[in-house]
Amino acid sequence: MIKRSTYISSFAIVALSLLTMFCSCADKATVKTVQHTAITLMDVGDQTVTDKGLYISIKTGSALDEQTVYLILSSTYATIIVEPEILDNTAQFYIPPSFTKRSGVVNYSLYSNGNITQESEFSLLPDTNHLGTIETFLGPRSIVANVRDYTMLVSIPTDTLDNTLPDNTQVALKSQFKSAIKTTTHPIASGFVWKRISSPLRTGRMSTGSTLENISSKELVADVFPDVAQNFQIEANSNHNYADGNEIISFQSTQIRDEHGNVMTDGTLVTFYMTDATGAHWQNKASTVNGYAFAKALHPQSPTTWNVRAAVTGIAQSNTITQQFKSIITSIPTPTITERNLTIGPLTSYLGQLVQNGIDVSVTIGDETRNGQTKNGEATFYLKEENYPAGTYDVVVRCLGLESNTQILID
C-alpha cells in the first residue's frame, strides 16, 4: 500500500509541477511589471493534515517575478519547491495534497532572487476528528503459563490519512483470557501504545484487541502453552511377565503436568530407559497424548529384570520401577541329529505350547558358532560334510537365557 501511495504521490507531484510550470508560463504574459520588492508570507499557524492541499498567501509585495521567487518546503516526507500562482488576483503558494497529507513539522524557506527572505516552520497535525484504523501487533504469539513469560500488544491508531495520532491520546488495550477481560488505557507516546500482558498460569488462548473512540483493531490471539513438566510416575502393563520375546509390554506415565497443573501439550516427547543387570540398554520414545505417555517394548528372550525410568530430558523424570521377566522353559531339550540335520527342540513355552517362530538359538560346535531361529518350535542346522566329517562333537546350545552342553555323533 505504501509503495502504491508513494507512486501516486510522486505522480501527483510531477503532474502538479508540470501544471504549475504550465500555469506560470501562461501567466508570464500577464505579468507586465517586474518589481524586485521583498515579499513576505502570511503567518502560517499549525494546520491539520488535509488531502486537499494548502494555500499560503503572500502578505506583502504583490508583483512577482515567478522566475526568482519560490518556496522550499521540507518535512519528514519530502522536500518540495513551490512556485507562486495567481488566484483571485492574489499570488499564493499552493502546497500539494501529497505533502499536506502527512503530519509532522514543515520547515519552509522563501527564496527571492536566490536569497532567503523568510524562514519559519509550522506543524501539520493529525486529524483527530477523522479516525482511520488501529493497527495492532502481538508477539510472541505463543507464551508459556508461568510468571516469567509475557506477550506484548502494540497498538497504532491512525487518522483517515494514515497519520499516527498525537501523544497522550488515550487508547484502550484489552485482553481476554477465559472469563476475565482486562482493559487498560494507555497514552500514545511517539505514535503508538504498548502493553506487556503477563502470561496467565493456565493454558488456553488469550484474545487481545484495542479501541479508540469509534475505531477498533483486529482480534489477535496468543496461545498459552504449559510450562515445563514436573516429575511424574510410571507403571508397567503387560499380559504376562514371561521372557518369551514375543509380547509387547507397555509403560504408562501418569498425566504429566506443569507446576500449575496444566497438562503437557500433545506430542511432548518422553523417553523411557530400561537397563538390566548385564548392562544392556533399552531406549523407547513416546510422545504424550493428553499428558499421558505410552511406550511399548518387546519382551526379552531371556529372564531378566529391568530397571525402568522415564524422563523429559533435562526437565522432569519419573520414579524407577522394576520389571521382572520369567523364563518360559526350564531346560533345553537334547539336540537330535538326522541326516546331518541338527535339530534343537521342540522348545515349549510356559503353557506347554510351542515357542513362537523367530526365537534365537545359537549352537557352538567346536569353534564355530552358528545362529538360527525357531520355526514351529524347532531350530534346525544343516551340518555340511565338508565342515563336519563323521565323528563326535561337543555342542553348546544357547537359547531363551539357558545353555546346555551335549555331545552329538555324526555318522
Binding site: 504449559p226 501439550t265 520414545k285 525410568r309
Partner: protein, 1028 residues
Amino acid sequence: MQSKTNKYLVSAVLLGMIFHGTAMFFTVERTYDALIHLFFANHYATSWFEPWSYSWYTGFTVMGYPPLVHQTIGALSYIGGLKFGMFTVALTGVVLFITGVYRFTQVLIPNKKVAGYAALMAVFSSSFVETLHIFGQLPSIIGISVLMHCLPEIYLWVKTARKRHLFKALALLSVTVTSHHVTPIFGMIFFIFPLLGMVVMDAAREKVNSTKEVTVIAFAKAVWTHLRRIVIFGACSLVLIVGCIFPYWVNTKNNPITQVPIPHGSRDNFLEVLSSGLVFFVIPWGLLMFLLPYFFYRYYSKRLLFFGISFTLLLILGTGGTTPVPLAMLGENAFNILTLDRFTLWASIMALPVFGEFCYRFVEGDYKDYLQEKWGTLVHRASGAFLSFLFIFIAIFTITLGKFRPSQPDAIKMTPIVNFLNEDEHYKWRYLPLGFGDQMAWLSAQTKATTVDGDYHSARRLPELTTRAVERLENSKYRGIEGIGSLQQFLTVPEKYHLKYVFSNDKFYDPLLYFAGWHRLSLLENGIMVWEKAGIAPLPSVLPREDAPLVLKLMWGIIPFTTVIIAFLLHLGSLWTRSFKRKKELPLYFAFAPIYKRAPSLLYRASVVWTIILLIVIAFGGYLFYVKNTTQLSANNVVTAYYDAVDFKEFERAHSYLDPDSDKKLSQFMLEISVSDGLLSSYAKLDSLYIDIIPKTDTTALGIVDATWITPLKEIETHDELQLLKKRSKWYIVPKTVDPDIPPEQLLIQSGTRYYNHGKRAVTSEQTFHEDVLKQPVVEVLSARLVQLDTTYAIVGEIQNVDNIPADISVTGAIYNEDNEELARFNAKDVVKHKLLPKETTLYRINFEGIAWASATEEKPTTYAPDTFTEIDLTDIPVNFEVQVSANVATTDLYQAVDLSKVQQEENTLKGFLFNTSIEEATIPQLLIGYYNEDKELLWVESRYIDESVRQQRKRPFSEVLYSDILPTEVASGLETASVNGLPNQSISDKVVPQRNTSGSEQSFIPIKNMPYAYITITTNNYVGNPK
C-alpha cells in the same frame, strides 16, 4: 541440352521428409540436446535482445551458443508454439542436409546420377539419423548442411573469380557460423581446405593434357595463380567467423571455460567401453565400414587427394581415446572440451559422395558388369538387395535406439510442476529438478522460476559446479562422489542459493533429501515428489547480472537473421533456375567428371579381405557377447545375472535363476521382496561385483559374492555365499531361507499427535498476514564444542526443542580466528535430527566443507564414497566459533518409529536391535552416536545408517563398530556465542528452562569399557519412505 529433373534427388527429398518427418515426432523430444535448444529458443522468444537468462546457474548469458537456430525456433514459436518451431527447423534441416549432400557430391564427383545416389544414401545415413534422432543436435545439422551448400560456390569463386560466387559462398558461410560455431572452424580445415586443394588441382589439370601430367610443379603454379582468390576468400571468411558471432567471442574471452572437463563417451577407449564404441563409432559408420577400402581408393585418387587426407584425419580423430592419436593431435585442452563424435559425423558425411558413387557403379555402372561377370547376375542382385536391406535396417535400428535403450527418463508431464511454481508465488524461490534428464530444459522453458542447475554446462558459473565434472546436479547419481558431493552441498546450505523446492523424479535422492533436513510437501499428479526446505528467504527482487554492451546485444539479435535473409536473396536466382531449369549449362566442375574404367583387381581383393576381417571381428564379438551374456551358461554368469536382475528390480527374471525344484515359488519370492525395504533394497545401485566361484562337484559350486552398492548416504558392502547347482545344463542359485520371526500383535492400534499448518488462512495472493505467521519454535543449544581432528574442525553438541510445538531446525556453525575474522561457515548436514518433537533432544555435528577440488591440481578420489566430504582450506587457525540455530514449525516427518533394544557393548562393537513399535515402516533408520569423556562432556558425534528397514513390530539386529580412531581435541567450548532464531541462547535458557536438571541424562548414558571415551548416547532417527 535440356536437363531433366533429377528423380533421385526428388525421391531422396521426399523419402527423407517422410522418413525423418514421421519419426522425429517420436524421437526428437527424447534426445539429449533438442530440449536444450528449445529452452534457448524460449529465451529468445521472450527476450530477443537480452542475452542474460536468470533461469539456470543463478544466471548466465546465452551468448555462449550461436543463436540462429534458437532464434528461428523462437520466431516460429509465435506461429505454433516452441515444439512446432523445433519440428519445423528439424524438417528444414533434413531437406537442407539431403540437398547439401547432393550439391557437395556434384562438386566432388561431377555426375548427376552419382549425386542423386548420394542424396538417397544420405536419407538413411546412420550418422545423420543418430545426430538428429538420438543426439538432437539441430544447430550442428543445420551448420554442416549449409556448409555443404556453400562448397560449390567456393569452388566456383576460386575457379572463375566471379564475385557473384564469392558473395554467395560468404553468405552461406555466415549462416553456418551463426548456427553452429564449431562447424565452420573445423569445416574450414576438413572441408574447405581440401576443396581449395581440389580446385587448384582441377586448374592444374586444365593446363595439361592428362592427369598424369599434374606434377607438384604444375600444382604449385596453379596455386600461385589462384592464391589471390584463396586469400580473399580466406580473409573474408575469417572476418565472417569472427564478425557474425562477435558477441560469442567476446563472451568466450570474458568467461573462459576454466571448468573441469566433463567426461564424454566419445573420448573413451571404444574397445574398453563398448557402449561408447557402439554409439560413437559403430552406429555412425554402420555399413560404410565395409566400404572403407573403396573410400580410400577413391579419395586417394589425384583429384580428391586432399579430401583423402581430410577423410583419414577425421576417421582417426573420431576414434576418441581408442588410439593416442586424437589426444596428440588436438592437445589435451581441445581434446577435453570437444566432443569427438562430430569428427565421425563429418567423416561419414564426407564418405557419402563416394558411397553414392559406389552405389551408382554397383547398381547401374561398371561394377555391375564386373561383378555380374564374376559372380553371376543372381548373386549380384541378391547381394545388392541384402546390402540395401542392411543399410536401411541400421538406420531403423539407430532411430529406435532411444526406445530400446532409453537415454532419458519417461516423458514427464510438466503442467503440474508449472502450476505448482505459479501457485502462491513459489517461483520466488529457486527449484532443483532431480532425475529429469534433459527434460529439465523443457521445464525451464515453461516457467519463469529459476534453478541453480542447468543443462548447458559450458555456461556454469557457480564454483560448486564448475570445479567438478558434473554435467548437471539433476543426474548427479551417475557422477559418483563428484555428483553427490555437489548435490549435498546445495542441499545442505540451500539458503545460500534461495533453493526451497526440489522436484524429485528419482527416489534414489529421497533419503539424502530427508537426512539433509528437507521434507516432502506433496506428490504432484504426474508422480513428481515435491520436497521443501523450511526457512529459506525468497529471491531478492533484483538479481545480479552481467550486462552486455548494447552493440553486442543488437549484433546478437540482428545479424543471424540478416545472414539468412541475405543468403536467401542471393540464392533466389539460382534457386529459381535450378528449380525451373531455365539454364542449360552445367556448373564448371562438370568438366572434371570421372571416367569409370574397370576397377583394379587389387581393390577388389582388398575389399574382400577387409570384408572377411570385419566379418570375423563381428562374429568374434557376437560370440563373446553370447558367452558373457547367456545368463545360465556358467556359475559366474548366473550370479552376475541374478545381481543384475535384483539391481534393476526385475524380480521375475531374478526368480528364474533360482533352483526350480526348490519350494521358492515366484509368489513367495515376490512376497519376500515386497517385505524387504531399506537403504540396501530400495535405494542402492550396484557399483561393483566380485564373484569368486569355488567349484565343488561338476554340478555344484559355492559362489562368494562381494558386492559394493552405492546409496545416496553411504557405500554398502555386502558379502554373500550362494549355493549354486547345475541342472539340465543350466546353472541355478539355491534360494535362501527367510526370517521366520512373527510379530506379537496382529492389529496395531496407535494414537498420536499430528500437525497441520494452514500457511495462509485467507485466500489471497497478498503477503501472509501478521497473524498467520507462526512463531518460530524456541529451541535451546545445550552444548557446543569446537573440536579439532588432525587438520579438520567440527562443532559438536546437543540441541533441545524446548517449545511446545515441533521444530524443524537448521544449525549453522561458523569458525573465527584470533582477530574474530570468519574463516568458514557451514550447516549441519545429516549428523543432526532436523525435525524435533517438543522437548526432544538431538546431537549435532557441523563439518566445514570447502568447495570440492577447487584447485585444478588437487588430486581427485578415484573411487566413489558418498560420505566423503571435502575439507575446507582454512586460511588461519580457528580459535573461536559460533552456532546459530534457526527453527521453523515442523509438521511432518516426526515419526518415532525405531527404538533401541538390548544395546550392549561387545568388545569394540555395539550390538543390539532396533524394534519398531509404530505403525510406520522405518525405511532407513539412523543412529546418531555421541561419545563422551569421564566428565560426560561430548567429544564427538557420528551418524550410522542401518542398511535394512525395520518393519512394524519387527526387530532388526544391528552391529556397529564403535569409534576407535583418535578422539578430537577441544579447541573451544561454551554457549556464549550460541544463538537461536537470532536471540542469544542464554536468554532462552534463562527464560524457558531456568532450572534445568539432570533428568534422563544418567539413564541415557551407556557406559563403555576399554575405549578412549567413557560413555555414549544414541539418538535414533528414521526416514519413512512411504508414510501411511
